[in-house]
Symmetry: C2
Amino acid sequence: MADDRIDSDTLLFLTDEQLRRAIEAMFFAYRGFTADPDRLLAGQGYGRAHHRAVHFINRSPGTTVNNLLAILGVTKQSLNRVLRTLIEDGLVESRVGQRDRRERHLHLTEAGRDLERVLSDAQRARMRTAFREAGPEAVAGFRQVLEHMMDPELRRHFNAVKEGER
Amino acid sequence: MADDRIDSDTLLFLTDEQLRRAIEAMFFAYRGFTADPDRLLAGQGYGRAHHRAVHFINRSPGTTVNNLLAILGVTKQSLNRVLRTLIEDGLVESRVGQRDRRERHLHLTEAGRDLERVLSDAQRARMRTAFREAGPEAVAGFRQVLEHMMDPELRRHFNAVKEGER
DNA sequence: CTTGGAATGTCAACAACACTGACGTAGTTT
DNA sequence: AAACTACGTCAGTGTTGTTGACATTCCAAG
């Protein structure tokens, strides 16, 4: 506590106590991370699951349901419930695939993009503030650690950004 | 918007695209972060909420219900459901407060500590691997950014580690 | 051209975990 | 004595996840 000088030789940053602190930091930070979108969506009939769907459809317009399933890691039944309401409400459009007409390609409508922007603006604002306060080197480290914390399976999705219609 | 090259070197990490990447990294990493405990608890009648309760009772033995409520940020009804099962199953002990007999001070039993150890060992193992692969400087940055991402209210709880019986 | 399998969607039932609102009980403070 | 605090509980509801079963549509291989 008195002086925690970083000593890579003795690997002081790998003690159980340091790891416990990091685990709690992750817990509290994730709460902050989701707080703003959650608040914006509350009482609107939507929740975090809708936010996630909208986010990844916006990132990869034309992505298929199967792609989305793999990224979000939920069952198709669970995703379908979310997509159905988004489509009914005119936020998401589902287009039959050209090459393979079994597939459904998902796109945001104008209204969908509006919602996405509101949500991600709030989330980015918090992230931007945190980044600015911590500085570029801290951000680089932050990104590195996060990437190593992912399951290898998920890291694939993280690095594959451009999906599109293909 | 096309070229705002002013300070582009130092502010490159604050572009919307960089922030979007970071948001997704946070999402995927959190999935990895909770994957191991989730798997261990699955089918055992317990879930993530039990894990959180056990974790923070272990961190601050003798903490009160009210303290835990503030830390976890849930309603007392929600927390009570979790605590009741943990107490019934003999993992948590609830002692009437000495100074104020309205309070209940929470402690892990031997069995509770066993479960906590299994869960946090798994979670720490993943964190340790990620830390080792990323290196000490990255870890320092990681911690910095996370702390700035928290709500100020929650950061208080993060920094106040020693509660105990008082 | 039929058939097998893949992709998608839907229905039903259920569980975990959160919420609100209301109420009760014990104990402390004013 | 009254007001407030800490805790627990009952009842109802909502979001998000799960299984399992089944139908439809469509591609591709025999």
